[in-house]
């Protein structure tokens, strides 16, 4: 085992949040090292194929999944530089003001320690930095005013447009979707050509994956990435008041220690608590940053109610991006479906390019069909099928949690048990959104339509290291600094006390930008 020369910052995970932190800190002159479990992917690795696209996802994840709705980790996760955002769909809706105050407004769930107004300037900053296409003005029917997006909305295609009549008939206004993609050339990166391969990585850089935005900036400013290196512990000093660095296994599977003045965990919402639990010492017997007992608690996922519709016309479903063309917050009111026993926001999107295979492919639109019936369906669907999706919110539940298991991984680190079940209110919202999807489809004039039902999906991931006002009721403050150890920080959606219904990453970036700037501004009092 070698102990490497101390650096200013060590960041665990070179995904969405880690890359942003690295960029802000390296540009502020800090010596930054990112330790990343997966490969250092290049743009030339992003082969346009659903099969080859699976290479950039985790394989053999170190969790045991339990509960009524076990979490679909490997599909949702990332592995290698860029993290899951190397192959995300780049839908960039914001959270709305109500998302930050669920407890105050509804007496359930939790409040964030900050408001929409605290995050809003950072949404604008992120958009200007990495490029967002959309029409901010049109969104302002639902949210406070902000700056215009740097690029106009993306092109739309029949696969999105055909839904508009049905949505309007149901009183649902749609606006151009905000996406982290280029509708026009932006900062030397080309405009999108609408071939729909975003979900296996966009090798031309029309989609803002972190390797070509924040991580590229960080590297330019001197940050170093150590790929194929897995962190197993965060180290603390004898007094237990200071993080001193991390222990990791390098690409040759040799154990190393990287010392640092500040440690930032950015290994996604499930790994961050797993690492903190595995870093227990006599001073922190329940795991680091766990004086509240809430480490690993309140894990949350989104779910989606999809509606398929088949049209006689060619809906150009091979064209577009895998992000959305139209979006709506019309059903965002958390009580919108109260009459059906549901609680939580719904965020609706329409229009997406479709491929044939993989989980999102149209061969799975009728999972019950096989044999000659499937072959016949593929012929009909290849031009005529399109999907509408409604994302739903679940409330934080302390029983949805990450804990250490006794079984160990290849590095001798305990696996974690990840327990997750949706509440009755979430299930009711999922069902209500299916019902509404059918009403919408009926009003489009589609010749056939049906709900994309299967086991309730788990999408995106939140919680486990929630932020809050006080050390007794949360793991970090609103910047991601742990209450217990000043130079130990956490980044990413694990900080979110509630999850809204919007896709998370625009907010992950905004929260990370706010946290990283705060860290730079108080560096002298934080760094150990």
């Amino acid at each position: 085992m070698a102990t490497l020369e101390k650096v200013d910052v060590v960041i665990v995970g070179a995904g969405a949040s880690g890359s942003l932190y690295a960029s802000v800190l390296a540009k502020a002159g800090k010596k930054v090292v990112l330790i990343e479990a997966g490969p250092d992917w290049q743009m030339t690795d992003l082969i346009s194929s659903d099969m080859w696209g699976r290479r950039v996802k985790p394989s053999g994840v170190p969790f045991l999944f339990e509960g009524k709705n076990p979490y679909g980790y490997a599909y949702q996760g990332g592995w290698g530089v860029g993290g899951a955002a190397l192959h995300y769909f780049a839908n960039f809706p914001r959270y709305l003001p109500t998302d930050f105050k669920v407890k105050s407004e509804h007496g359930k769930g939790l409040d964030w320690p900050i408001n929409y107004a605290d995050i809003a300037p950072f949404y604008d900053k992120v958009a200007a930095e990495i490029g967002v296409s959309g029409d901010a003005k049109s969104e302002e029917i639902w949210r406070p005013k902000g700056q215009a997006y740097p690029m106009p909305p993306m092109k739309t295609f029949r696969n999105g447009q055909v839904w508009l009549k049905g949505l309007e008939a149901n009183g649902i206004r749609m606006v151009p979707a905000a996406v982290g993609m280029n509708s026009v050339d932006f900062k030397g990166r080309p405009a999108c050509i609408y071939d729909g391969w975003c979900h296996v990585g966009c090798p031309i850089g029309a989609l803002a994956n972190p390797t070509i935005t924040y991580l590229a900036d960080a590297r330019k400013a001197g940050a170093e990435v150590r790929a194929l290196s897995t962190v197993t512990r965060i180290l603390t000093d004898a007094s237990g008041t200071k993080a001193t660095g991390v222990e990791y296994y390098d690409a040759k599977k040799e154990k190393q220690v990287q010392e640092a003045s500040v440690v930032i965990l950015a290994s996604w919402a499930a790994q961050n608590p797993r690492l903190l639990l595995n870093s227990a010492t006599d001073k922190h017997p329940k795991g680091l940053a766990n004086s509240s007992g809430l480490l690993g608690k309140y894990m949350m996922a989104h779910y989606a109610s999809g509606t398929w519709a088949m049209f006689d016309e060619d809906v150009e479903n091979h064209m577009g991006t895998v992000g959305a063309q139209f979006m709506s917050y019309e059903r965002y009111d958390k009580n919108a479906k109260k009459a059906k026993g549901a609680f939580g926001s719904t965020y609706i999107v329409a229009g997406t390019a479709l491929k044939t295979s993989d989980l999102g492919g149209f061969a799975n639109a009728r999972i019950d069909l096989f044999g000659p019936k499937l072959a016949e369906f593929m012929q009909r669907a290849k031009r005529g099928i399109t999907r509408l999706t409604a994302f739903g919110e679940e409330m934080p539940n302390i029983e949805n949690r990450i804990e250490q298991a006794s079984e160990k991984d290849e590095f001798g680190m305990p696996l974690a048990r990840f327990t997750h079940s949706f509440s009755d209110e979430a299930i009711a919202l999922w069902n209500a959104n299916f019902d509404e999807g059918i009403e919408i489809a009926k009003a489009t004039g589609a010749k056939e339509f049906w709900s994309a039902r299967g086991p309730m999906p788990t999408i995106h991931l939140f919680g486990g290291t929630i932020m809050g006002e006080a050390a007794g009721t949360s793991v970090t403050n609103s910047y991601g600094q742990t209450h217990d150890i000043a130079n130990l920080w956490v980044a990413g959606p694990g900080l979110f006390p509630t999850e809204g219904a919007s896709n998370p990453t625009y907010t992950i970036f905004a929260v990370s930008q706010r946290g990283a700037e705060n860290l730079v501004s108080k560096w002298g009092s934080v760094a150990g």
């Binding site: 992003l46 194929s49 659903d50 994840v61 391969w197 090798p203």
Partner: protein, 187 residues
């Protein structure tokens, strides 16, 4: 920049065909070519191959010729971090061969119990269809091994991959593939 220029910018996807060994040397082939050339199997035994081909063909017509067994077998022989199988993204624990062996064994065992000791590949077309229809709904009594609906989901997906997920599959269906970086060997 024109679209063609953009695509031309991105080259060098040298690894995108699968490596099969023929007479001790490695060659890059698509699973269809591997099937046509009778490339020896590395991981699955003859019985497992037979069951897999019969099941694949029942799930997605054309899967046998498209090389379902060669695809799965080759994928089970590479380190799990390089695997392209749907099993990877559905939280199956590596080594993935364990899952496939258990799944194919479970199918044959249930088939034998239900159909007078006949393994799945020995059933008639109609019998195979009826068996899969029950398996996908978890309606086969006394089932042992990985759950039937999950086997259905995964093997159907593998079969869809080789029949519809390739460039050849898109061409046969008549829809544009439009790759930025094309997999080699039209695979």
């Amino acid at each position: 920049m024109s679209d063609i220029a953009r695509r031309a910018l991105i080259k060098g996807a040298g690894l995108s065909a699968l490596a099969f060994s023929v007479g001790g040397t490695q060659v890059l082939l698509s699973p269809r070519q591997a099937h046509a050339q009778n490339i020896p199997f590395r991981t699955l035994n003859a019985e497992q191959v037979e069951t897999l081909e019969a099941l694949g063909e029942t799930l997605v017509p054309g899967a046998k010729q498209a090389g379902i067994a060669n695809f799965v077998d080759q994928q089970l022989s590479v380190p799990h971090g390089e695997a392209l199988l749907e099993a990877r993204i559905l939280n199956v624990r590596p080594p993935y061969a364990n899952f496939y062996r258990a799944a194919l064994g479970a199918v044959d065992k249930a088939s034998q119990a239900k159909n007078g000791d006949k393994k799945f590949a020995q059933l008639t077309g109609d019998e195979r269809y009826a068996f899969v229809d029950l398996m996908r709904q978890n309606k086969i009594d006394g089932w042992q091994g990985p759950p039937g609906p999950f086997i259905y989901l995964l093997l159907r997906s593998d079969s869809v991959d080789v029949v519809y997920g390739t460039m050849e599959g898109y061409a046969a269906l008549g829809i544009p593939y439009m790759p930025h970086i094309a997999p080699e060997k039209r695979w």
